[in-house]
């Protein structure tokens, strides 16, 4: 389910909470250190035309780091992410598919982040998705390029099915299996887990949980741990 509005002039908002982190290394060792990252997102989308949209993501993050006995907390706005998804749709009798290219930029809003990743980061993603009434699939490969950091390469795969829908009230449920791969310098992670999407007319709720299936990056590299994401969105 392509949850962004497809109609001209359509727009929507979403609030989302995301968390991940661990106090163990990728090799499950306790090195008396931890890293936990929680982020609150305010997101928006506007559709000029089904082939062109703009999305904004404004994060507010809470980072807790512990290194031996030294604990540091940092609350700040993260990087503002602006993306322009450009999509080509093809409609068939019982399904629809689209291919997309999405250029995107990250603009640091906090001075500390500017010093870590640079004043400006850019990225691009290529995607293919296909949806019928019962099944959904998405494949998205993307990359981020930073000034002061190594680039990141990622791959997202979503496979879903639609177990419940009521035409009379336009309510229903989607269940998706999500696999996410990230490669950054010497760090590799493959996370996977279920996603549940409930919708009622123009309101949608999404909850997902992912665990690291494969993770490597040096013996003292802290694991990303359990990833959790919950969001509530509305479209007009």
């Amino acid at each position: 389910m392509d949850m962004a509005p497809r109609w001209s002039g359509g727009y929507g908002f979403q609030i989302r909470y995301e968390s991940y982190g661990s106090d163990l290394t990728v090799n499950a060792k306790d090195i008396n250190a931890s890293f936990f990252h929680k982020t609150y997102f305010l997101e928006g989308v506007y559709t000029w035309d089904r082939s062109a949209r703009i999305t904004l993501k404004l994060p507010y993050q809470i980072i807790e780091k512990r290194d031996s006995d030294i604990l540091s907390k940092n609350n700040s706005f993260g990087d503002l992410i602006i993306a322009v998804p450009l999509k080509k749709y093809n409609n068939y009798k019982s399904y629809t598919q689209n291919i997309g290219v999405t250029p995107q930029v990250k603009i640091p809003l906090d001075e500390k982040m500017t010093n870590v990743t640079g004043p400006f980061s850019g990225g691009v993603s290529l995607s293919y998705s296909s949806e019928s009434f019962s099944f959904y699939q998405l494949y998205d490969i993307f990359s981020w390029f930073y000034n002061y950091k190594d680039p990141l390469l990622g791959l997202d795969i979503n496979l879903g099915f639609h177990p419940y829908h009521d035409n009379a009230t336009n309510k229903g449920l989607f269940v998706i299996w999500d696999a996410t791969c990230r490669w950054e310098n010497s760090y590799t992670i493959i996370q996977t887990g279920p996603v549940f999407m409930l919708y009622n007319q123009n309101i949608m709720m999404r909850a997902e949980l992912k665990l690291p299936a494969i993770e490597s990056g040096g013996k003292n590299k802290l694991s990303k741990g359990v990833y959790m994401n919950i969001g509530l969105g509305i479209v007009f």
């Binding site: 389910m1 392509d2 949850m3 962004a4 509005p5 497809r6 109609w7 001209s8 359509g10 089904r50 749709y89 409609n91 068939y92 009798k93 019982s94 399904y95 629809t96 949806e131 019928s132 009434f133 829908h165 035409n167 009379a168 009230t169 336009n170 229903g172 919708y199 007319q201 123009n202 949608m204 479209v235």
Partner: protein, 182 residues
């Protein structure tokens, strides 16, 4: 009735035919029994005919209503679903209509057309994403502008395959559109 018959039988057993008084009594009892049986039969026949009368009234009252609905509606099969097209409805088969948010967008757009009966469905529009069609309810005696509806659907990112109307209530009119039949 049964008690009278039993009395008559008891008397008949003890009757002496040569005694005229006994004979008179027997005849009177038999006559009374026959009348009683006859009355019971009449009641039974009345009851049965009354139920038939009630059923007849029901048919006379509701049959025209039922007939009225179906005379003004015809049924088609659309993507493996039987769809009844009523006199004041427009049914549009739409390609690419598979997602719930597709339904939200179309409902919002189509319900804003003139002469849509917003009392029915969701603001006058039912979208079936499983069988890929939309139903627009019209205010009785008024028509929506179908070309406006088609433009709205196309601008929303879908393609119209077929439009079905039943304006006369007796025959379905079909408008097909040129799309790739995939």
């Amino acid at each position: 009735m049964i008690a009278n018959v039993a009395k008559g039988y008891a008397l008949a057993k003890n009757v002496k035919r040569e005694n005229p008084a006994h004979v008179v009594v027997i005849v009177a009892v038999v006559k009374k029994s026959v009348v009683a049986v006859n009355n019971q039969l009449k009641f039974f026949v009345y009851s049965v005919s009354n139920v038939a009368m009630i059923k007849n009234s029901i048919y006379k009252l509701f049959l025209p209503v039922v007939l009225l609905v179906f005379i003004n509606a015809q049924t088609i099969e659309l993507n493996n679903k039987k769809v009844t097209i009523l006199k004041d409805e427009v049914v549009i088969e739409i390609r690419g209509l598979v997602c719930s948010f597709c339904a939200v967008g179309l409902q919002g757009g189509l319900s804003s057309l003139h002469n849509v009966d917003k009392e029915k469905y969701i603001n006058g529009v039912l979208v079936d994403i499983e069988h890929h069609f939309a139903v627009i309810a019209e205010i009785s005696g008024k028509d929506i502008n179908i070309d406006e509806a088609l433009t709205m659907i196309t601008k929303s990112g879908y393609e119209v395959f077929t439009v079905y109307t039943n304006r006369s209530g007796e025959k379905i009119d079909v408008r097909n559109f040129e799309v790739n039949k995939n």
